[in-house]
């Protein structure tokens, strides 16, 4: 074996011999040489160590090596560990990725091809927490958790009490689980209460599965989604409750049940009695707490976290409260009615909530700022945005070419391509492919959902394609959100906003109450931004 002559050779008692690189920058060019010849011999404890003594500089050298190790082909285990690492935000991955992979590999042992399940779950959990921390969500979740549980339990009790006798479903399985989770919260010790929330989430998902095997139908998808969403918040933000919060949650649950009973159903049918009533109550609850949060703000206290908590609750809550445009016989043409149903409401509400969370979160990022700000901007780089536009256009077009090409669809594809063009950058290919696949799969899922869960023989492909066009709200929101960030190009955002308005404003009257409130919040936030910008310009003018 040839001994490499790189830097000064140093003997390391643990590893046989080692190559010491005094400077990180220098190490960048050579380590490959060291590695190419240092394939460890079987049965030989000798391995080669390259030490970088710099402690403060970024480990650029180290990274360059581990990512392209010559003579050290990545094992399947290492490839899987690196894949797993994508759960972390990009800037964290750049900072910590290599050592986490190394630790995963070390602790996995020599004979494994996949990392142990415990390690995978642990990494995923911490990665999620890290991603939420980027928006200060991890601080809002514990505040929202007790109310999420109260809403879920109240909703369950009401549906069990008033809806089940009329339309039997597999729902009672989930409803009972939620009520026992509430009882656990009020009465039991923290560990048991937390486990019961987990059981309730599992039971909620199981109702859909159970309905395949027994005669009663499953509860509406949006009810299952809302219960699951509320449950996730309750579980993620669980803290051992104080005596006061035990009583508060119980009282809030009772309030939700009573209020649901009082709100009279706006129209007959399945969805209206369930969704509209519960949705209205949940919306009122979320709005009331939001008002309290805003009041705190006016009185000079920080309202960031309470507002964040309300926004989190609003996410599953908006999945409940769409007002059915068709059942209300609103003066909407077929096309608009097809476009704006429950799906549109859920997609629009989700996008709006995430945008508002993003705006509020930016404040937290700006405070931490420093060198990491550039990394945090990476998800909205111009190349990626162009990729989002082109990819979603391609995905939707692919779905349409198997079904139909009404003028509305042609317009949607053109608008998406226009947005991508206005971003003025070469689309990032991986992002484009990802969005194309995601959009195509999403459109297909919408088709299956809107055609009574059948995968073949759709009656009205045109209507399905128009309905699926509501998914273009997602890329439009991403591009619109990116456009209001400081220093971004505004024109793609204007087109995106126009397209969102065209899709949703004709059915404004069918929007649920929370959607109204969210839209108002966004408009107010926008006005505040404009006023601040004008104020800054005025101040600049004065200085000059």
């Amino acid at each position: 074996m040839t001994k490499p002559v790189v830097g000064d050779a140093m003997t390391n008692p643990a590893t046989g011999h080692a190559i010491t690189k005094p400077m990180a920058g220098d190490a960048m060019t050579k380590p490959a040489t060291g590695h190419a010849i240092t394939k460890p011999m079987a049965g030989d404890a000798m391995s080669h160590t390259i030490t970088s003594q710099s402690t403060k500089t970024k480990p650029a050298a180290a990274r360059a090596m581990t990512q392209k190790p010559v003579g050290h082909a990545a094992t399947p285990l290492e490839r899987r560990c690196r894949l797993l690492l994508h759960a972390y935000p990009a800037d964290y991955r750049a900072h910590r990725g290599d050592e986490i992979v190394a630790t995963l590999l070390d602790s996995a042992g020599p004979h494994r091809t996949v990392p142990p399940l415990g390690d995978v779950l642990d990494v995923l959990g911490h990665a999620l927490r890290r991603r939420m921390a980027a928006f200060d969500l991890h601080l809002g979740v514990p505040l929202a958790a007790p109310w999420a549980l109260a809403l879920a339990a109240g909703l369950s009790a009401f549906a069990w009490w008033r809806i089940e006798p009329v339309i039997p479903t597999t729902g009672p399985l989930a409803y009972a689980a939620w009520l026992s989770a509430l009882a656990g919260w009020v009465l039991l010790r923290p560990g048991a209460a937390r486990a019961l929330i987990g059981v309730a989430i599992a039971a909620t998902l199981a109702t859909a599965l159970l309905a395949v095997f027994v005669p009663p139908e499953r509860p509406p998808v949006w009810v299952i989604m809302s219960l699951t969403g509320l449950g996730c918040i309750a579980l993620a933000g669980y803290r051992p409750p104080t005596l006061e919060s035990r009583f508060n949650v119980l009282a809030a649950t009772v309030a939700v049940i009573v209020a649901c009973g009082v709100v009279s159903p706006p129209a007959p049918g399945y969805y209206q009695p369930v969704l509209a009533r519960i949705g209205a109550v949940v919306a009122a609850g979320v709005l009331a707490t939001a008002v309290v949060a805003l009041h705190r703000r006016r009185s000079g206290q920080s309202a960031r976290l309470p507002i964040m908590a309300r926004l989190l609750l609003a996410l599953p809550a908006t999945w409940l409260g769409p007002i059915d445009a068709i059942a209300w016989h609103l003066p909407l043409d077929d096309l608009t009615a097809a476009r704006f149903g429950r799906l549109a409401h859920v997609v629009l509400a989700t996008c709006l909530v995430l945008c508002v969370i993003g705006w509020f979160g930016q404040g937290g990022r700006a405070r931490r700022a420093g060198g990491r700000e550039e990394h945090s901007r990476a998800p909205f780089s111009k190349e990626r945005l162009a990729g989002v536009g082109v990819g979603s256009a391609a995905g939707y077009a692919a779905f349409a070419s198997f079904n139909a090409w009404p003028p509305h669809t042609i317009a949607a594809v053109c608008v998406l391509l226009l947005m991508a063009a206005l971003v003025r950058a070469r689309p990032c290919m991986p992002v484009a492919v990802l969005w194309a696949c995601g959009t195509a799969v999403g459109c297909w899922a919408v088709g299956v959902y809107s055609n009574n869960w059948s995968t073949v023989g759709w009656d009205s492909p045109t209507k399905t394609v128009v309905l699926a066009s509501m998914l273009t709200l997602v890329p439009s929101s991403v591009i619109g959100f990116a456009a209001v960030r400081p220093g971004a190009r505004r024109l793609p955002g204007v087109v995106a906003g126009g397209w969102i308005a065209y899709l949703t404003l004709p059915a404004l009257i069918a929007w649920g109450p929370l959607l109204w409130a969210l839209a108002a919040m966004i408009v107010l936030q926008g006005l505040a931004e404009v006023r601040r910008a004008a104020h800054d310009r005025h101040a600049d003018a004065l200085i000059e």
Binding site: T55, A102, T103
Partner: protein, 104 residues
């Protein structure tokens, strides 16, 4: 201070250590009771570094794997010292009560 955090600081009080070294050392210190997993370990190290209790001492690459060694800062040493005396005092109090209980 929670037990895993205390054990991580204790492990680093011996000598600078890389991630996997800390995991092994903590398992040994706790008699196999505390098994740190990578996500938890690096979450704790992030927090400790943010509080200025630990810092990176050096980095090396062994068989293409990055090993970043951590050591206690001066703050970390005094923090661990204070925590250890607190725990020792508590243990002392418990022992003396138990002795009194045993000899009526």
């Amino acid at each position: 201070m929670q037990e895993p955090t205390f054990l991580i600081l204790t492990a680093l009080a011996g000598a600078p250590m890389h991630g996997y070294g800390v995991i092994q050392e903590v398992a040994e210190l706790s008699g196999g009771r505390v098994k740190l997993r990578p996500g938890t370990l690096y979450g704790a190290l992030d927090r400790l570094a943010e509080q200025g209790l630990v810092t990176v001492s050096r980095e090396e690459i062994v068989d293409g794997r990055l090993r970043r060694y951590y050591e206690l800062t001066r703050d970390g040493v005094s923090h661990l010292d204070a925590e250890a005396s607190r725990l020792a005092d508590n243990a002392q109090a418990a022992r003396s009560r138990l002795r009194r209980l045993a000899t009526p």
